[in-house]
């Protein structure tokens, strides 16, 4: 169907020419779904843009060819390409909301494509656009035709993008991270839809993703890319059971799966024994009937609707739910950045929920409750070096000064595995993983009793995520901290937490020991979440044993 040979793409940058894709070759068979998997900067998206010839300014195809039904896409004229795009090869993108023209009715956006490729005339365009909407299972397509993108949910927008891409019955669909930014249940719905449509129409497809688990579930064959090159390709089962290349092995290891321990995320040589930790049977934190109401544009909005739970000393509790479920609001209240509307937050016997967030900075409890933020880049002051960032809580809330202060900072750097020379760098000079370490060092600087982790690895590549998660587990054991781990990823929570709380629409729908919740969920919503999470093939038993030993 499509044969890519030795394709190379380079970009003109201020530091000279940078080769983003260095001689990539692969075949796409008829009716096949091919996954291209890689971490950020692997060149997987650039490859797809090169195939469509929609590279950003400064990007050019240097070498190679991409033959589609006898035409070399690299050498085809611009007007030929325009006929190919949308009619022969289509593409869907990440961030569906911004992938649609914000001020044009979605129906008109579909009509534009139909008219362009002469698949519709002025007269029948509307009818065909509505058909295209119905094809992507949009209910009430006639009404939706007149909607603007901002009136639709993210998942609905992605369906519209699919409708645009599939309107002219192309032969190939390229999907570039189509579910990034969507909730896990929406992700499943969108992916199922895309797969069904591709199968039903006998199309071929390329799925570009960073999520090996997702690719394994939906693709017939997977290509693993790293630094602009293909390191390995094969079918999902054999890739997972017997990865050949060091990098794909690392990637397979780092992808969280059922029935594994957190150490298994690391390459075998880094798997040190777990440190022991103790959970005491007395609550550190008791939350009772917690409520939070915001003043919205159209009346009050209840973000948290009276939730209650306990967290024991030394426990690691997971708080899971999809966007808008109230988990972020809850964690902001617990860390005392936000005042609850009603209810109690009893920390070691004291109702800290009653202390206004405004004055909590001067409360002696401040040092006991700290937080690691979601986005490491955003949570570091761009004008402070790592040293200044880590020093901040120590200067404000401890008595350490001068030499003792710098000794403590270096001690913390060692503890989180941050090389000492990096202490004098600014955030923009650090990698994502290094920034995460600085954020963690700051949070544990005062040896808090209770640490809230708000999706601390959401912005990291899986291989870095594996390292950071293991670091967090070790720190908890070493410092005897209690964790509240906020996440949308059940697989990650399973590895990290003893106890799980599932939230939906501001309410707790289920809570219990993580083993129970994960294997025998009581609530249908928990079940739906578990079902929606991509399930990569399990590792073969012999390899699993080899890894543990």
């Amino acid at each position: 169907m499509l044969s890519v040979q030795n394709l190379a793409v380079s970009f003109q940058t201020r530091r000279g020419e940078v080769e983003a894709v260095r001689g990539v070759s692969f075949e796409l068979e008829k009716g096949e779904i091919l996954g291209i998997v890689g971490e950020s900067g692997s060149g997987k998206s650039v490859t797809s843009y090169a195939l469509m010839r929609i590279l950003d300014a400064g990007g050019t195809i240097k070498r190679g060819s991409a033959i589609y039904s006898g035409i070399d896409l690299r050498r085809a004229s611009e007007s030929d390409m325009r006929d190919i795009r949308g009619r022969e090869i289509s593409m869907i993108f990440q961030n569906p909301r911004s992938a649609l023209n914000p001020i044009r009715k979605v129906g008109h956006q579909i009509e534009d494509v139909l008219r362009q490729h002469a698949s519709a005339t002025r007269g029948d365009a509307r009818g065909k656009a509505i058909e295209a909407l119905e094809a992507v299972r949009i209910k009430d397509a006639v009404t939706r035709y007149d909607a603007y993108p901002f009136e639709l949910s993210g998942g609905m927008c992605q369906r519209i993008v699919c409708a645009i891409a599939l309107a002219c019955n192309p032969r190939i669909l390229i999907a570039d991270e189509p579910t990034t930014g969507l909730d896990i249940t929406t992700q499943k719905a969108v992916m199922d839809l895309v797969r069904d449509l591709i199968r039903a129409r006998g199309m071929s497809s390329i799925l570009i993703t960073h999520d090996l688990g997702l690719a394994a579930q939906y693709c017939d064959r997977i290509v693993v890319m790293k630094d602009g090159e293909i390191v390995e390709q094969g079918d999902p089962a054999s890739l997972f059971s017997t990865p050949q290349h060091v990098y794909s092995r690392k990637l397979v290891d780092a992808t969280p799966r059922a029935g594994e321990t957190i150490r298994n995320l690391l390459p075998p040589e880094d798997r040190s024994p777990m440190l022991p930790y103790a959970i005491e049977d007395r609550p550190l934190l008791k939350v009772r009937n917690l409520r939070k109401t915001y003043e919205g544009k159209s009346g009050p909005v209840e973000a948290v609707k009276g939730i209650s739970f306990d967290i024991k000393h030394g426990q690691s509790v997971g708080l899971v739910g999809e966007s808008g479920c109230g988990k972020s609001t809850t964690s902001e209240i617990l860390v005392r950045l936000l005042d609850p509307t009603d209810g109690e937050v009893i920390f070691e016997g004291e109702d800290i929920g009653a202390i206004p967030a405004k004055g909590f900075a001067r409360n002696p409890r401040r040092a006991d409750i700290q937080m690691v933020f979601q986005d490491a880049t955003d949570s570091l002051n761009p004008r402070h070096t790592s040293r200044q960032t880590i020093a901040e809580p120590l200067k404000r809330l401890s008595l350490l000064r001068g030499n003792k202060l710098s000794v403590r900072i270096e001690e913390l750097a060692v503890l989180v595995g941050l090389p000492l020379p990096l202490l004098d760098r600014f955030p923009h000079q650090l990698s994502g993983g290094q920034k995460a370490r600085v954020g963690i060092a700051r949070a544990i600087a005062l040896e808090p009793k209770f640490l809230i982790l708000d999706e601390p690895t959401a912005a990291l590549d899986v291989s870095i995520q594996a390292v950071v998660l293991n670091l967090l587990v070790d720190l908890r054991a070493k410092l005897g901290m209690t964790y509240l781990f906020v996440s949308h990823d059940l697989h990650v929570l399973r590895l990290l937490c003893d106890h799980v709380i599932v939230m939906k629409d501001g309410e707790v729908v289920e809570q219990g020991p993580s083993a129970n919740v994960m294997t025998a969920p009581q609530d249908p919503y928990t079940q739906a979440l578990l079902d929606a999470a991509p399930a990569p093939p399990e590792r073969r038993q012999d390899l699993l044993l080899a890894g543990v030993s």
């Binding site: 900075a361 809580p393 404000r396 954020g439 870095i464 390292v467």
Partner: protein, 292 residues
């Protein structure tokens, strides 16, 4: 572990690299810096540099075209135009710098507070700014000077008032988007009071876009001050000032004595141009994506 160590000196240079890159790829910014130096030099040493007394009249020598003796010619009462143009630099620059400084300080304080705490403070500030902005700004400055009295100080206050909304709005927006930034919340967890978070963590990060605004505004402030004196407000003759000189020279343009108006006008243009180029250059350094 997975962190790749890059030798420190390679990455340390990042910031300077960027500045050098911007200067090299845009030599215009470099020229702007040189021109700024020239303007400051004239402002500081103007009276010493001027070859003639800018106020000394010499009727027999009136309306002489530019010559080696009088580079920019002489005006209708025989004063040396070059000397007057050079000496005027200090006054024009003082007016605009003082006005921009006042609006920067007042705007920053009001805007930061409104952007950080929001609520009624924000509403009241916005109402006031809306009302100021509801006037065509130059016209408002005219009205203020006319009402307060025709003096140089009042020109400064009027220019400061019409500039203030730009700073207040900019700071408000910059502070507002950073109010809930991770590092601001982290600073609170580290035991900083709201005021400290605002002053030590948020405001310094809002400064770069402010500096761009300052540079662009200085040019605009000079234009406004010169415009006000052009229509007879503020500075009075025979004080040398670019706007007045252009106004006086305008009467002679239809009879062909172009140098009276053209030289002060060009000088004024150059000053404004310098600050605008500088602003664009700073913008490139602060944020290469916003290059226009």
């Amino acid at each position: 572990m997975t962190d790749t160590a890059i030798s420190p000196d390679v990455k340390q240079q990042g910031r300077f690299d960027h500045i050098f890159y911007v200067l090299r790829s845009n030599p215009v910014t470099l020229i702007a810096f040189v021109m700024l130096g020239l303007i400051l030099f004239c402002a500081i040493f103007g009276p010493t540099l001027a070859p003639y007394d800018p106020l000394l009249t010499n009727a027999p020598n009136a309306l002489q075209p530019p010559s080696l003796e009088h580079w920019f010619g002489t005006d209708n009462v025989g004063r040396d135009v070059f000397s007057r143009v050079i000496v005027a630099t200090r006054l024009d620059l003082t007016i605009s710098v003082a006005a921009v400084a006042i609006s920067f300080v007042v705007g920053s304080i009001l805007g930061s507070a409104a952007g950080y705490w929001g609520g009624w403070l924000d509403i009241v500030l916005n109402r006031i700014l809306d009302t100021i902005m509801a006037f065509p700004l130059f016209v408002l400055a005219m009205g203020i000077v006319a009402a307060l009295g025709n003096t140089v100080e009042n020109i400064i206050y009027a220019t400061a008032i019409i500039n203030m909304p730009f700073y207040a709005r900019l700071v408000r927006a910059e502070v507002n988007i950073r109010r809930d930034a991770g590092y601001a919340r982290a600073a609170k967890l580290a035991g900083n009071s709201d005021l400290r978070v605002l002053a030590m963590h948020i405001f310094p990060n809002a400064l770069p876009p402010m500096m761009v605004q300052v540079s662009l505004n200085l040019g605009w402030a000079i234009l406004n001050a010169a415009g006000l004196s052009f229509i007879g407000l503020g500075v009075r003759p025979p004080t040398p000032e670019w706007g007045i000189m252009v106004a006086e020279g305008a009467n002679f343009i239809v009879s062909g004595e172009w140098w009276l108006a053209v030289f002060p006008g060009l000088w004024l243009m150059m000053a404004v141009f310098t600050f605008n180029l500088l602003g664009d250059g700073l913008r490139d350094m602060v944020d290469p994506r916003k290059r226009t």
